[in-house]
């Protein structure tokens, strides 16, 4: 390929890639994110920092300590609190109650709803109120299979099991998560490593 040919090739390749890029950017404009992005980001950052800090300490811990080291509250990604709270619907307010820590209100409202999202947040609320038995039993449901929260359900269930000293069951779940494209995969690996080192 002579120099001219190389220039032609580079120019055409770039032209095609720019066209693809434009096509994908159009897709972005059409598909506005359904849910805010930042709560996920915040959650991931906080969870990663927590796991990393724990790993740095590198101490032998009990299962309950491990729970404390790895557990972080899942963010309200349904209707995060904003300045315009007044516009929130009754349902949305329940998730905001969860976010604010008004767990009694959140529980009574979420219990009356029938959706995967409501059940997931109800279980999370039980975790926050240290009712691990109830949380674990809610998270142990096939209803979450295929839902957007499926992998998080397994993660929080594994943590609840750990808290209840059911280490073997927790490890089974973590091993399952290890093979998935899970945003907290690094935490899963670290927790498994810590459990092995105990």
């Amino acid at each position: 390929m002579d120099k001219d040919d190389e220039i032609i090739k580079k120019a055409i390749v770039r032209n095609e890639r720019l066209k693809l890029k434009k096509l994908l950017a159009e897709e972005d404009e059409l598909a506005e994110p359904k849910k805010p992005w930042w709560p996920y980001a915040t959650a991931a950052a906080v969870l990663c920092i927590a796991a990393f800090s724990y790993w740095m300490l590198n101490e032998t811990e009990t299962q309950a300590d491990l729970y404390a080291a790895y557990y972080q509250k899942y963010p309200n990604v349904v209707s995060p609190l904003t300045r315009s709270e007044e516009s929130a619907t009754e349902k949305e307010k329940l998730y905001q109650d969860y976010e604010k820590g008004d767990y009694a209100l959140a529980i009574s409202g979420l219990e009356a709803l029938d959706s995967d999202t409501a059940s997931f947040y109800l279980a999370l609320t039980y975790l926050e109120t240290q009712d691990y038995q109830k949380a674990e039993s809610m998270l142990d449901s096939q209803a979450f299979s295929g839902s957007a929260f499926e992998l998080y359900v397994k993660w929080y269930r594994a943590l609840a099991l750990l808290k209840m000293e059911q280490e073997n069951e927790a490890i089974l779940l973590l091993n399952e998560l290890k093979t998935k494209d899970f945003p907290l995969a690094e935490n899963v690996q670290l927790l498994l490593k810590d459990l092995k080192a105990k």
Binding site: I8, K10, V13, N15, E16, R17, L24, Y40, D181
Partner: protein, 174 residues
């Protein structure tokens, strides 16, 4: 037809669907790295383009992992390449850098820019012949079959005419 087969066939609608399907997960995954959202989206677009081109070129036949896993691997790789370009402090020894080409790695030279400007002014048939030859890297025999030319000699003449037109346009614009 399965999604992977559509992508291999170069179906751009399938690419758009695939892009939308994994975008949120990629942004969540990529958020652990110190890039702002716009740049992360830019990387994600590039990763999808790399994957799409590899699939079309039949270069992913022996990949065992899922497309999503492979896509995230490419994305991670591109993120680290950007860090390297910006000389951000990353422990590259701990990162597996494989040979994914950054689709926009080189700055476009003035000559290339002029050539690209001329290319888009060519007629549709010439653009298609040259696109198949240079971008899709199809052989002349394949192009004869795709564009239903009478034979290879006719195609060769057409390609020569197109290249001449292209170079003339560059001169006119230069």
């Amino acid at each position: 037809m399965k999604q992977i087969d559509l992508l291999k066939s170069g179906d751009q609608l399938a690419l758009k669907a695939f892009y939308g399907e994994h975008k949120s997960a990629f942004l969540f995954f990529g958020n652990r790295y110190d890039l702002d959202r716009e740049e992360l989206i830019d990387v994600y677009q590039d990763a999808c383009i790399v994957l799409f081109e590899k699939l079309k070129a039949g270069k992913l036949e022996d990949v065992n992992s899922s497309l999503k896993t492979y896509l995230f691997g490419i994305g991670k790789n591109l993120i680290f390449k950007r860090f390297k370009q910006k000389a951000k402090v990353v422990d590259l020894d701990t990162v597996e850098i494989t040979s994914f080409e950054d689709p926009f790695k080189d700055d476009e030279t003035l000559e290339e820019k002029r050539m690209r400007a001329a290319f888009v002014k060519l007629g549709g048939q010439c653009q298609e012949v040259l696109r198949l030859f240079y971008y899709e890297e199809k052989s002349l025999d394949e192009i004869v079959s795709i564009l239903t030319y009478k034979d290879k000699n006719v195609l060769k003449s057409q390609k020569s005419r197109c290249l001449k037109q292209l170079k003339d346009l560059v001169k006119q614009n230069g």
